[in-house]
Amino acid sequence: MTTWLLIGILAVATITVKSIGPALAGGRRPPAAVERVIALFTPALIAALVVSNTFADGRQLVVDARAAGVAVGLIALLLRAPILVAGVLGAITCAATRMLLG
């Protein structure tokens, strides 16, 4: 019973937190200062997601096979490879590194 309660709470909470912005401020042009923040939000969020997905394991910072995979993917991207190709190369690197490290 508690499990379903947990799922229900999280489902409602997730939709709520996603919807508050569009519900309150949907379709309206915000002030120029807010538009500047929104424009900067994407690079900030992406950078935050990249480092946390690469180096965070729960609350620990680790340098593991993921870092190797992301490094290879980054090089591929810098060499103008399409995202999918860079991703696959990174995945192969990560998998190989995981295998080698045991």
């Binding site: 508690t2 499990t3 379903w4 309660l5 947990l6 799922i7 709470i9 999280l10 489902a11 909470a13 997730t14 937190v17 996603k18 508050i20 912005g21 569009p22 519900a23 401020a25 949907g26 379709g27 309206r28 915000p30 200062a33 807010v34 500047r36 923040v37 929104i38 424009a39 900067l40 939000f41 994407t42 690079p43 900030a44 969020l45 992406i46 950078a47 935050a48 997601l49 990249v50 946390s52 997905n53 180096f55 965070a56 729960g58 620990q60 910072l61 993921r66 995979g69 992301v70 993917g73 991207l77 995202i83 860079a86 991703g87 696959v88 990174g90 995945a91 990560c94 590194t97 995981r98």
Partner: protein, 229 residues
Amino acid sequence: MGDMTIIRKEGLAASIPVALATVTIGLTFGVLAEPLIGAVPAVMMSALVWAGGAQFAAIAVVGAGGGLLPAALTGITANVRYLPMGFAIAPSVKGSLPRRIATASLLTDATLLIGRGDDSRFDVPRMVWATPLQYLGWVGGTAAGALGAGVIGDPGRLGLDVMFPVFFLGLLLPELRGSSRRRLVVAGVAAVVTLVLVPVAPVGVPVLAGACVALTGLRRPRDSEEDRR
């Protein structure tokens, strides 16, 4: 209506790398969650909550013996970055309230990034079309992990989880290439803030804090820094 077909294809195509990574993470979730809450609840959780961060965080608390309240609170905290994300897309989300809520419920990191246009605009149709493959990947991956846990072994074996950060980098680099110094600095500072907070803040907060570096945009830029597009 030819435009719509293009947008549909763009959104779907852009979501393919993400969908692959999503399947892997979904598999991992299914494998982890099944012994703790059962296969059907695990799949339903992915179908109804559809937020990896929150699901993993909540399950971790359950696995450590925590009760409903700490599990729920941990899960909700892990989702906290969706608040500014919602406000970021809000100006681009039009229509009636139910429609806006329905659109907002499709929001994920990847959807938001795929949908972003120039500066502060988001292409909602493209975002919507980036969703189906991700959702299918997430729920399908969870089901496969929960039901076939023994068979699949370690989902990390294929290294597909790395596709998330590589995908995000792939979106970031074109942004930074031709851009003002301000964006580079913001991205760099955001990365540092996030890293510093990982060991000391609850899961979900470091990414939120990094994203909030964007608040420096409130400060009026000096003319020499501003990029004009």
